[in-house]
Symmetry: C2
Subunit: 111 residues, 2 copies
Amino acid sequence: MSGVDAVLGALADPTRRALLDALAARGQASASALAADLPVSRQAIVKHLTILEEAELVSSARAGREVRYTLRSQALDATARWMASLAGEWDRRLNAIKRAAEAEDQPRRPQ
Amino acid sequence: MSGVDAVLGALADPTRRALLDALAARGQASASALAADLPVSRQAIVKHLTILEEAELVSSARAGREVRYTLRSQALDATARWMASLAGEWDRRLNAIKRAAEAEDQPRRPQ
DNA sequence: TGTAGGTGCAACTATATGGTTGCACAAGGG
DNA sequence: CCCTTGTGCAACCATATAGTTGCACCTACA
């Protein structure tokens, strides 16, 4: 479950999310190609792609003189599951606490 | 779907996640109480809680001289769904592109 | 073989961010 | 009424982060 940290950190930046969108549209693209889509330099794109790759949200493969990046949905999906189960956990605990509070209050008014 | 930005930004910080954990354990707590759990000052906690509240991950309610914070699972759950559907979208697009690539290659070897 | 397109590395800048401290103010409880 | 406890505000600091520019280095290809 440690990849969650990296995924959340990676997804927190809007430029990075835009980058993922651009990659989803192209299916596969080099850093230079992606730099044409976004209003930042190629070097900035490369840095973002490195972070995304460390979070396992994209993978890279060399093809001749260029490096092609592709999306990887697995880590994103895993993080989504983690968040959903966390939300469930919160609900469970809050309900338990609410019930405990009621159980503590009821005995005080026997009538 | 604009709350996703705030939620992701809020969840990206480890101290904030620890704060949410502490809140889940207590069910309800003031900033001062939470500061006892974590290794940072109360002021830092307050700043984090403000960010979490803007992301609608917690809500606050005044109770006498203290302010009680509680978890809100809705925004977290919504973000989880967003991420899951995004992962699905990626898979769809990648499959479509892969199929298109195959359809373009097949005609070249008729036998 | 030379040149164009792509990558990689490094230095540098500016702003955002997480954190601190200090103090003033509000609210309950002896 | 005083003292404790909690909050709110502001200034301040240090580092992380997003971004830039400049240049060297491959690799395809005409």
